[in-house]
């Protein structure tokens, strides 16, 4: 199984992390986060910058409902990229059913595709902590309080099945080979490289221009090619494994 594309795209890039390239931007971000979240601090280690400490979960009147100990590793690619998160207080078990990576305990808060589709310009680290991370942690508390709790916005299936589910919502097909064809298109660096006379990857037999072109263009515009590349590799391997097993 491939390693998860938990952080934002470009993980193979040799470029220096943004927080080294741009210390002013980093210091501004640091001040902002430490002002908003009183018990979170930046910790700089060799090769990474993390935010560590206690995150308060507040109700709408500002009262503390819960506290979580967390570590948030900043994306190396941009200050608005998808960070990697660990819950360090031992409250959440490392189980895939809880959307925690069993290998290293990192939290699978977002499907990378959905993160970039919803936030094509990324989101600031404070927005991320206040929004998706807080939502994720609250759902974890509610699961602990009730076995019947369902994730409030639903949840993606695990691994490549989750990737298929995401593209199925945009293409109307969950056939893995069709999704692979879609990902092959989306790996192109430039939208102009995707030709309207190509067959639509949804499997309808229509030309792209007469079928899901708008959806494909939108996906292409919003999701970085590094993310679709990683999903393509993951899905291709799964399809091949399935073929071999037959």
């Amino acid at each position: 199984m491939l390693q998860p594309a938990l952080s934002d795209p470009g993980a193979v890039s040799k470029k220096k992390p943004w927080y080294i390239e741009n210390p002013d931007s980093y210091n501004t971000l640091r001040r902002e986060v430490e002002n908003i979240f009183p018990e979170l601090s930046f910790v700089e280690r060799v090769g990474e910058v993390c935010i560590e400490g206690d995150l308060h979960i507040l109700d709408n009147s500002g009262k503390v409902l819960y506290r979580f100990s967390i570590r948030v590793k900043l994306s190396e690619q941009s200050p608005r990229g998808l960070p990697t998160v660990w819950e360090t207080g031992g409250r959440i078990p490392w189980e895939r059913e809880r959307h925690m990576n069993p290998h290293d305990g990192s939290a699978c808060i977002y499907l990378p595709e959905e993160f970039w589709y919803e936030n094509p310009n990324g989101i600031s680290i404070s927005e991320f902590i206040r929004g998706p991370l807080t939502g994720f942690l609250i759902n974890q508390i509610l699961i602990d309080k009730s076995e019947n709790h369902k994730w409030l916005k639903g949840e993606w299936d695990h691994g490549e099945n989750g990737i298929i589910e995401f593209y199925a919502e945009h293409l109307g097909t969950s056939e893995p080979n069709n999704i692979l064809r879609c990902l092959t298109m989306l790996r192109k660096k430039d939208t102009k490289e995707i030709k309207g006379h190509w067959l639509c990857p949804c499997g309808s037999g229509h030309k792209l221009r007469d079928c899901h072109r708008l959806n494909i263009n939108e996906l292409h515009k919003r999701i970085p090619s590094e993310v679709t590349e990683a999903s393509h590799t993951k899905l291709k391997r799964a399809v091949q494994e399935l073929r071999n097993s037959h």
Partner: protein
Amino acid sequence: MTDKEYLEAIIREQTIAQGSEEFKALQDQRAKVEKILREHFGSSPAIREGGSKAKHTMIRESYDLDILCYFLHDEENAGSSLKEIYNNVFSVLSDSYIVERKRSALRLMDRDDHEHYTHLDVIPGRYADETKQDVYLHQENGEKERLKTNPEIHINHVRDSGVRDAIKLIKLWKVRNHINAKTFVLELLVIKLLQDKREVPLTEQLSHIWAEFRDNNDNLTVDDPANPEGNDLSELLNDSVITRLSSVASNTLKQIEEFGWSAVYGAVKEDAESLSDRLREVASTRSVRPWSSV
């Protein structure tokens, strides 16, 4: 509610939340003080937060924000001696606040309302050298006129101790029982006593600390992690402090045995159902669909 849940609820009640009025007021006060200091001393002094806020051990019932104001080791803008620096910072702040001289800190009171404590202490000092690690502080009283310390080591020692919850609850216990001990010394004691008990439940950690205070008070000693040889903390942990710690700890353990933990910290008002409702309400606008990469 289990004992563990009870203590967690007490800590939540004592947490000054991000975005709360108290927190904003503290931030505003801090910004005002920094502006005053910058206007007089320019950009050279390093001004940053210290104390319980930086250590992440602040409790609502009793908190101060320490503002560290350290001048470069070779700069004489604010004075050539530590005493001059201390007095000059005092003088500058006195234009806007009633300033009380503490041993090394300057405590700020509101000028319009003398009773109103701003929760701010300013600690002037000077870096020992260009590495900006060790700091010299002036001491108004005490044996030595200057104290060598290292705020970074103090902050990291507490913040990364792994026993911050126990520290918060011991601080609260100290306040509620009017124990006249320096918080810094109590923090060091808690960390030392729990060095082999970081992973045990909070109830067990606290019981262990109080049992040590009660039964082993002859051996209660602490070292300053920033200057173990140079700073003698025994004066801060003298016989009267130890006696008081021991007697209150003994009484606390009896209370727990007879009446349970609520006898120590009082009742909490949360009930589980309304907590879930409020959590759901907050999560409703923030949830995303989680995935699992494997």
